[in-house]
Subunit: 410 residues, 2 copies
């Protein structure tokens, strides 16, 4: 058994890791149909080929007019305009608006030639068949969406480096973009290791065995970050077998996750196996974070490798905090998402060492955040949590009653 | 063309709609493998069949001991214990700990018989071959995870009515649950309507035409809420065709979305077609929300139908605000997720009418939220936004400098 001094010789802070550990590999490009483009990350900006909406449209139900024909109109002295036609949806507006005339137009209908504004139906009434009474003036352009108001030709519709949201897909659809070049979902190999680890479908455990809790659950987080998890077989605590599995993983995947042994010996084996890969660098072995200190960040070529702590709870915290941002970059993200949080008050004091980032699981009761403690081996601490609080590296703990930002789970 | 008075005869508030419109249909159950269970909603609670982890384990690298043999130990007067063996990971602990002996144990290793605590390796050193020096006492149970500490037999591992998170999947894996009964993803038919609407792959638009921006983009939100979008063909503004398409949709889907006509006439046609369905009820036609007032909520049997406003921007806001919570319920959610938000200060005054919920799109610049305005027909307002602010029904607008909660987009 190793002595305590042997491990964690390259401890880094979480902010250093996120800023400094930047392997350059990116998932390759592929083309997807618009209906499959939500959440995918474009490889390049996409520009409008033509103006959008492409024609002047009414934004209300009403009457297309020349604005100046309505100037001075009021309830007392309405403007009377002769209705010379009606625009049909989806059709070209035929009837021209000339002096003292109006053409009925539905919301979204094309503005007829000659008109420069639309009177809302609520501000008009039919005075007699064929004549409309306008009781409020409109300014030129009022209730009209200009031909290029949503996008001018050549305008950027969506940018690379961030995933397409529903509204981005809507904009692309409106612009007639039906196929998009995006980064492929990064293939992520998960290597579970450990002589004690057996598959989840093992009905009864022999003494000392544990089921692999991480392959499936880290897979959920990989999906959430836009990746495709690939589970390899469980690797026993044997340096050669681990090295062979790793050598295969870095050639077939975009990102590699090792669910490392939890003992010092297991961690040493992992580091040694990673170090034996071609063009490899162990960027850090140990992070100033609780839980999750025994984290390994490395690369082989430009493929990132993350070695997670052996405790499932620590492993899930680390993959969420470190692994997901790294994986998003491989998937083409150029910015990290700014997570939303729920403002709450701490129910009790929260000690923390300065220089270390603490991830504290909490239950939310109305506006109170109640920290949940327990050994880092316990998954039940995580399943009981509604979210977590991050105590930053420069903080010396928090006090009961302090306002905290709780990042909610799903 | 209808007069203004004809529409919105059953306007409800958003909170009334979310509380009161509750068709009872739920997506049926299906069984999925654990690796596919992330985000899925269990139909019933799942209990532990056996204790977890199932055996007493060490939570550190160290020496398993009888705690009382360490009482009084200090740097000055260490306790000397004879090391009689070592526990291997994944194997049953063989060597019993008796008086004044210790057995080496790795993190996660099984506690040997006779031991009741573990001394961390950092608090010990090898005094001579076969003897360890302990410099700090341990209490009974210290550095030990009890056999049933993560879950006692019969304890609830996961609850129905909320989606499985990564940690829930980890807990199920640890407990040997490899298949789970979950609600099927609700099938959602999207009906785009309008004589002016053409498919997104239409290369050039005739005057007055618009491409269907909603089928693909509402599909993104349906996926986000756990549903499976099914796009039907675009339905022209014809009551009979719309009724036929609706009658088909309510028999083949769990939830129906109509991207309704934007004009008063189009909306009237939609309501009339819905009203003609078997066992139908129009629960409201008009919501006190901006944008999105012309929203229709209805059911045929217990299948929910939502008629979205014709403007793509309003439609996306309404589907996010109203459609996604409704769809989650059909998918088995019994609680609404509490969204996280980003705290920011308003850059300018935000007028709002009391009694109406306003959804205001904002750009985030550091800690400032800058409202983005524009006609509700403009998608560019949404694509420029980083998130949105909800001005509640009881608020009379907000002032520049007020703190607001921005709900971020993805």
């Amino acid at each position: 058994m190793a002595t305590a001094g042997r491990e964690f010789f390259t401890v880094k802070t979480v902010s250093d890791a996120l800023a400094g550990f930047r392997p350059s590999h990116r998932a390759p490009a592929e083309t997807v149909a618009l209906a499959q483009a939500g959440g995918r990350v474009p490889t390049a900006a996409i520009a409008a080929r033509a103006a959008l909406p492409g024609f002047d449209r009414s934004s209300v139900d009403g009457y297309a007019v020349r604005a100046r024909d309505t100037f001075g109109a009021s309830e007392g002295i309405p403007a009377y305009l002769r209705v010379t036609g009606a625009v049909r949806m989806g059709a070209s507006a035929q009837d021209e608006v000339v002096g003292q005339t109006a053409v009925a137009v539905p919301t979204g209908g094309m503005l007829p030639p000659g008109a420069d504004a639309v009177v809302m139906i609520e501000h008009s009434q039919e005075a007699m068949p064929g004549t409309v009474e306008v009781v409020r003036p409109v300014a030129p352009g009022e209730n009209v969406v200009r031909s290029d108001e949503d996008a001018a030709p050549g305008a950027t519709l969506v940018s690379p480096g961030r995933p397409l949201r529903a509204q981005d897909v809507a904009m692309l659809a409106a612009a007639g973009v039906s196929e998009i070049a995006v980064h492929a979902a990064p293939q992520v190999t998960i290597l579970a290791t450990g002589d004690e680890v057996v598959t989840p479908d093992t009905p009864a455990l022999a003494p000392g065995q544990v089921r692999d809790a991480l392959s499936a659950s880290i897979g959920v987080l990989i999906h959430e970050a836009g990746g495709l998890p690939v589970s390899a077989a469980i690797v026993p605590d044997d340096r050669d077998q681990l090295r062979d599995a790793l050598a295969e993983a870095v050639t077939t995947s975009d990102f590699v996750v090792i669910c490392a042994g939890s003992s010092v010996g297991g961690r040493d084996e992992t580091a040694a196996a990673v170090a034996s890969l071609p063009d490899s660098e162990i960027w850090c072995h140990g992070l100033a974070i609780k839980p999750g200190k025994p984290t390994l960040l490395a690369r082989s070529g430009e493929i990132p490798i993350i070695g997670l702590p052996g405790n499932p709870r620590s492993a899930l915290v680390i993959f969420r905090t470190i692994g997901m941002p790294l994986l998003r970059r491989v998937g083409g993200w150029s910015v990290d998402p700014r997570p939303g949080s729920i403002r709450a008050r701490l129910s009790r004091d929260l000690p923390s060492a300065a220089g270390r980032l603490d991830v504290v699981q909490v239950r939310l009761r109305d506006d109170e955040a109640e920290p949940i403690f327990g050994p880092s081996a316990l998954l039940s601490v995580l399943t009981a949590a509604d979210g977590y609080v991050i105590v930053e590296e420069d903080a010396n703990g928090l006090s009961a009653g302090d306002a905290v930002n709780v990042i909610p789970y799903g």
